[in-house]
Symmetry: C2
Subunit: 148 residues, 2 copies
Amino acid sequence: MTERDAVRLEQQLCFALYSASRAMTTCYRPLLEDLGLTYPQYLVMLALLEREPVTVKDLGATLRLDSGTLSPLLKRMAAAGLLTRSRSAVDERSVVVSLTEAGEALRGRIAEVPAGVLAALGSSLEQIVALQADVTAFLARMERAVGE
Amino acid sequence: MTERDAVRLEQQLCFALYSASRAMTTCYRPLLEDLGLTYPQYLVMLALLEREPVTVKDLGATLRLDSGTLSPLLKRMAAAGLLTRSRSAVDERSVVVSLTEAGEALRGRIAEVPAGVLAALGSSLEQIVALQADVTAFLARMERAVGE
DNA sequence: CTCAATTTGGTTGCGCACAACTCAATCGAG
DNA sequence: CTCGATTGAGTTGTGCGCAACCAAATTGAG
């Protein structure tokens, strides 16, 4: 592989992920708009619907986001009435995030989102499952390499 | 596939792309910092080093970014002395972007970036090439589905 | 017990992304 | 040619991401 190819090739992997990620959120946007959620807020809802209550630290580890991103995001979601934040009694450093009734009430509508997105992706379920596995494996190798 | 799986599965494809894309830019960041570039600015440099001069419209089509993103980004790069912007004589609506000598002079150092990133990815070149092809194909299917 | 180091979450500042809008230039139907 | 529609950039406002920094709570070596 020549150096010229390397520039184009390497660009294409990072650029492919960058473009695909943004195109993906564009697919979600109209569906999430009906729920009053942004895409990162949707991810927070998925995390909370699966496990709750949870600390900001754990949420950050799950979503790979730091407090600089999560703090204002959670504040907006709390202002929207979807969740509550409270200091842990056990460890006053920790903030525990819980869904409100209004947040929990979105479960059904959130469960309908993936089917709506699938139609807009233009790929088969098999292709999506396979790609997800490949990207997830790649991400795991990257995180392991960085961790060393 | 149950609806419960669908939520988790679908989440995982979009979330995998979202996480992998961000982890990827994290790999680039320290290398690009030495060049005084952000990751989107690096993509602009790659596009310009491959074809130049180019209009803002064409640059946006290449990078899938609109003027709301590109205008201030290009303004910052112009302020950094990397490129110039000028109205086209043929069509006064268009703005033509060209590299300055300082911008062109970065070609060599930019060409060294991919090799540096490769080391931090933890994946083989074969894995990266294969994943790039899969993600690019997925992106193409998505754009085709949206275009219909 | 004590106090320095660590952990947790928050704030600030900057640079994207993107929607919504404005304006000037160009196009094109009639 | 004319004028309404379209196109290409730019501006504004909002919401991420993330680095850098801060304060408070906790931990742990001595």
